[in-house]
Amino acid sequence: MEIIKQWIWQIILSVVLIIFILVRYRLFLLHKRQKHQLYIIVSTQEQERQRLAKDLHDDLGTSLSTLRLYIAAMSDLISTQNEDLKQIHGNALQILDTSIRNMREHLFQLNPKIVEEHGLPSAINNYMFKMSRFNKLKFNLHDSHFPEYVSPEIKINIYRIMQELVNNTIKYAEAKSISIQLMYRDKQVIFIYEDDGKGFDNEKIKGGYGLKNISTRVEMLGGTICLDTKPGYGNNVMIEIPSSNKKNHVR
């Protein structure tokens, strides 16, 4: 009787254990799939941005520039007496110029070619200059010998991460200043971001889209992220990315 009881207990225990392992394995697979989906979303987003920028530039950009040439050429044909027509012409040209300027700005947001053409430090400086002008923020970039040979994938992703962090600071932090350090040490790209805003409770905000997007990008590059923030102490982020990682292929 005792032996049968023991057997029953052993069987029950084994079944529970098997169920537990199966559930854990299922959760692991689910987590892996979600992570993979995030990778795909982020990398597709980047590809789509670049495709859209190219189409906009080649198609709408060219048409607008040609249109501007035609409208500008009209000015010689409008007689000086016809004030109304002159004003309409002037307005049209002004609207067209604003549209071209706006489109360039959108293109820049979609595909910051400046990262490739002038390097990451210049691109960050340029972005921060624009943002600080509109938002009364003090900004400081410290880049010590950041090498140009770091892969374009790392550079564009750091640029995107920087944009996300700056936007978060502006939206939520009420900060007075932002400081960024860009370094290259022991074949590692190191990006340190600090703001002196309100700070936040890391645990409460972990799932936020912005932070998820950032950590997905970091993971894609085989790097690590260390968030150091508390209410009242601003936000500090350190990202380390190995520059020779084979994972660095997603754009």
Binding site: M183, R185, Y233
Partner: protein, 128 residues
């Protein structure tokens, strides 16, 4: 040790010191045990301390030799304005005069450069 996160200000003009602290204490930072803030000059450190609203920083680690105001002068100011705040000095030159001055002014400890982070970590955990 209290359950609270230990908030520490590191003052050093050497740029890689900051990186070393961030790297060596990375696990503690991620686990929410330590929070580090950095200042690259004594002036910046004082300004930073003055901006803190709820003052619960517990420790300042300051280099002695810095351009502009040095660590000893910083120690004087910190001890006058925030007497409860503990201060440790980091120094590459173990100069007896500095050591005497700093001890007299209330510095808790001396940490030699290059910093032995394991020893520093244990010392901090022992203190708080």
């Amino acid at each position: 040790m209290k359950e609270d996160i230990l908030k520490i200000l590191v003052v050093d003009d050497e740029e890689d010191i900051q990186l070393l602290f961030r790297k060596k204490f990375k696990k503690d930072i991620q686990e929410g045990k330590f929070l580090f803030r950095f200042a690259t000059s004594a002036n910046a450190a004082i300004q930073y301390l003055n901006t803190l609203k709820e003052f619960d920083m517990v420790l300042v680690l300051s280099d002695i030799k810095m351009p502009g105001m040095n660590g000893i002068d910083l120690l004087k100011i910190v001890k006058t304005q925030y007497p409860h705040l503990k201060v440790m000095m980091i120094t590459a030159y173990d100069d007896l005069k500095n050591r005497e001055d700093a001890t007299r002014l209330g510095a808790l400890d001396f940490i030699a450069k290059p910093v032995n982070f394991e020893a520093l970590r244990s010392r901090i955990l022992q203190l708080f």
